[in-house]
């Protein structure tokens, strides 16, 4: 019995919303943990109290954010089983492994030491505490590594093959899964994006203190740490975040063609479409502005490799669907106990395309009796809607360039000791605080919406992955989750803003703005 269409759509909505909500908090954890390490290292090396106060104040905000990250992370682990039971069965043999390693190698580390970070100040030596802070940062970053290895495998499922006896994908090489090029590119890009978000957060909040001329000694040092860290991160995010990750893997090729609105295959190296209006119905891009050669050079890092256009991808997929029908036909016989050599050979020849055959389940449960019209429709299903991907990608890239400018300018004026008069830059930093999150959300949208119709690229269609539960159950969880999330988010934002307004005086050291009454006074005021 296939899952009900409503269950699939509601579960997708629920997973998408809860994953994006979780990722409001993750980037700040990833980046802020390193900013804490930087501040505390300076404290340990120089002994200057202000750097300890910086570690503790930004640590307080880190804690408020971290609690939400933990809260919302659990939902995702639950959902693979609750809403995507067939997915869990079909790929658990491979997909579960990085999640379990993440738990043992990374999440334990960060969760065990995060308590000591907050409560260990008087019980540990300076160096011991720094090591604890470092381990929290290491744990959260390693956590991202394993999650992105799991996610990378969904985009490019290497190191696995189908076992018809157990009706699932099984691991053939863990090193292939770990060193999956898609996963590696994703890891570096996602981490660096998180660092940019955290740096922009610290930069913007510090700029706000500077604009109000309060705790300037504290604020300018925080601003400097954020500017340096942010500039390095935004350079990595741009250089390492280019489209080289899209050269391998079936769904990656489709995404590349969609985000660049490449309807046709052009001779290498292809031109890049900077602007245009993708027109899906007529399969062309209106008013396109193109730069010759650029796309080919960026995406393939060569002058002679082609980038396959959407029309050709559909043609390739139609052929793979036909092969998939043969694979499915053989699979049914094998499952029924017909183990003859002919059947086995037929299955082995076509099993790489089994997933494409499964796409037909949406149209005909038996797969093998699909009409040419149904095959053509299934082939069209393999192409996501182009315009949302095209635009999301451009928003992300545009914001990345804006961040480069902000961090670059901040660094420049800091180095020239001429920051205070640049009130326009400080204001820009404050209003830009939410923008890295916009860039991150559009980036994830491209990666995950662009993966449709697959849950595992070329292997398992999304509509087969859901549990065979009732729509009412998903309505219940969806409404419940959204209600709780909205409440928790309001509470989190309230606390965040309250502590940002209090600033370092929330540490009750007696050295800062609200305690001394003199805005400009602070420890080591410059």
């Amino acid at each position: 019995m296939l899952p009900v269409a409503d269950v699939v759509e509601l579960s997708r909505l629920q997973f998408g919303l809860t994953a994006m909500f979780h990722f409001l908090f993750v980037p700040l954890t990833l980046g802020l943990s390193w900013i804490l390490v930087i501040c505390e290292s300076v404290y340990v090396m120089t002994g200057q109290q202000v750097y300890k106060d910086m570690t503790r104040f930004w640590g307080k905000l880190f804690g408020i954010n971290f609690a939400m990250g933990v809260t919302t992370g659990m939902t995702l682990e639950f959902q693979f089983g609750t809403n995507w039971a067939y997915y869990a069965h079909y790929v658990g043999d491979i997909f579960g492994t990085p999640l379990a390693i993440e738990g043992m190698m990374a999440f334990f580390l960060e969760s065990t030491f995060v308590g000591l970070f907050f409560f260990g100040w008087n019980r540990l030596s300076k160096v011991q505490h720094l090591v604890v802070t470092f381990l929290v940062a290491l744990g959260s970053n390693l956590s991202a590594l394993w999650i992105l290895i799991a996610n990378g495998w969904m985009q490019n499922p290497v190191g696995a093959e189908f076992n018809y006896q157990t009706m699932r994908m099984e691991l053939t090489s863990i090193t292939d899964v770990i060193f999956n090029p898609v996963a590696q590119v994703k890891f570096v890009h996602t981490l660096a994006a998180g660092y940019v978000a955290a740096a922009m957060f610290v930069l913007g909040v510090s700029a706000w203190y500077l604009l109000r001329a309060r705790d300037t000694g504290f604020a300018i040092r925080s601003f400097a740490v954020a500017a340096g860290f942010g500039l390095a991160s935004v350079c990595s995010v741009i250089v390492l975040g280019d489209e080289s990750g899209y050269a391998t893997g079936e769904v990656q090729k489709v995404k590349l063609a969609a985000i660049e609105a490449e309807w046709d295959t052009h001779p290498a190296p292809a031109a890049i479409t900077v602007f245009g209006l993708p027109n899906q119905a007529e399969q062309r891009t209106d008013y396109a502005v193109r730069i010759p050669y650029a796309l080919g050079l960026i995406a393939t890092r060569s002058t002679d490799k082609q980038i396959t256009g959407i029309k050709d991808l559909v043609r390739e997929h139609e052929a793979r669907i036909r092969n998939g029908m043969l694979a499915y036909e053989a699979l049914v016989k094998l499952r029924a106990g017909d183990g003859s050599e002919d059947v086995k050979r037929q299955f082995e020849r076509h099993q790489a395309d089994l997933g494409f055959g499964l796409l037909l389940k949406k149209y005909t449960p038996n797969v093998v009796d699909a009409t040419p019209a149904q095959i053509a429709a299934a082939a069209q299903d393999t192409i996501p809607r182009v315009a949302p991907l095209f635009w999301s990608f451009r928003v992300m890239v545009g914001l990345g360039l804006l961040f480069l400018f902000i961090f670059g300018a901040s660094f420049w004026f800091l180095a020239r000791r001429n920051l205070a008069p640049q009130r326009w830059l400080l204001r820009l930093a404050v209003i830009s605080i939410p923008l890295p999150w916009v860039a991150i959300m559009t980036g994830w949208f491209v990666a995950e919406y662009g993966r449709q119709p697959w849950s595992i690229s070329g292997v398992l269609p999304t509509f087969l992955s859901a549990s065979s539960i009732e729509p009412g159950q998903v309505w219940f969880s969806l409404i419940g989750l959204m209600t709780i999330y909205v409440l928790l988010f309001a509470i989190e934002m309230y606390l965040m803003l309250k502590y940002i307004r209090l600033g370092p005086s929330s540490l009750h050291t007696g050295r800062y703005f609200r305690e001394t009454g003199t805005p400009a006074h602070s420890a080591n005021a410059s």
Binding site: T82, G103, L171, L481, I491
Partner: protein, 378 residues
Amino acid sequence: MIDYETLKLIWWGLMVLLMLGFALTGGWDLGVATLLPWVGHNDEERRVAINAIGPTWEGNQTWLITFGAALFAAWPLVYAAAFSVLYVALIFTLFALFLRPVGFDYRSKLDDPRWRNGWDWGLFVGGVFPALVFGVAIGNLFLGLPFAYDDTLRVTYHGGFLDLFSGFTIGTGLLAVAMLTLHGGAYLYLRTDAAVAERARRATLVAGLVTAALFAVLGFWLARLPGYQVVAIGDVNGVLTPTQKQVARDVGLWFANYHAWPRLWLLPAVGLGGAVLTSVAAALRWRWLGLAGSSLAVIGIIVSAGAALFPFVLPSSIDAVASLTAWDAVSSHRTLGLMLGVVAIFIPVIALYTSWVYRVMRGTVTVEQIRRETHTSY
């Protein structure tokens, strides 16, 4: 590489071990949260209780997260079937678990008493509700859960949320709450002083007796319920799917393992004895003995339930053959071997640094300390 059959057996043990990891450490936090309204009569006293577990609860909960992830990796069929058949129950549990990270961290960030009292109730619900659901879920394993498989090994269901509650499963739910209250109470008695410790001591005394009584009653009850037994199964050293076996279902079969290996009776004896020992220790005011007793109770009770079920992990009430066992619900040979290596490396490392953290944070949490460190404590 270790042969498949041995690996399957080892993984049964490792799943029990991970569950024990959570019950023994996270159990303190769930139990203390359950006791919160009783041991803390004002804000400072409740802060004493919260700060006794505050610095370590997060690492402890990771045992639960890791248990879930290991279930996904090593027993993917169990993960898929259990999580979806228990959909509504698990979503409720998730809501209750939400209250913990934010409850601990946000509670003392504002002074408003309504805010703090609200979060205290949140922490209470976040402690007692998951314990109750885990207990009800384990009770339902003995009755079987209503799932079956179609020919593509897709799980289908025939039953609702309310069907999970019967006399027996409410009993196992209460047993889980009593057991973790016992464990949390023994820990709180050790880590606090004055009024909070005294109330924790009295609660522990009662919880020990309740745990022992419930465990004994449920044991006799179980003997009157239909149990499951694998009558025939393919080569357990090979690749098996859930439908390749024959299963008998009859009253008393849940004790078949105990009849076959009488030494197993040691397990329930440890569970029962540990619970009583904790009560005795509480009466005598022997703090460390109480903690040893409650740990034995937790280990004895959980492992004796596992031993009764073995090799079953998730029996089905509507199609006994579809029941999942440690032999046929597992990952491939390669994945089990790989994951064993991961566990063998990381679990000892985790145990080491966790003990170090507990050592650093050792000592008694007092009202005076909360007053002194009011801005840095939870």
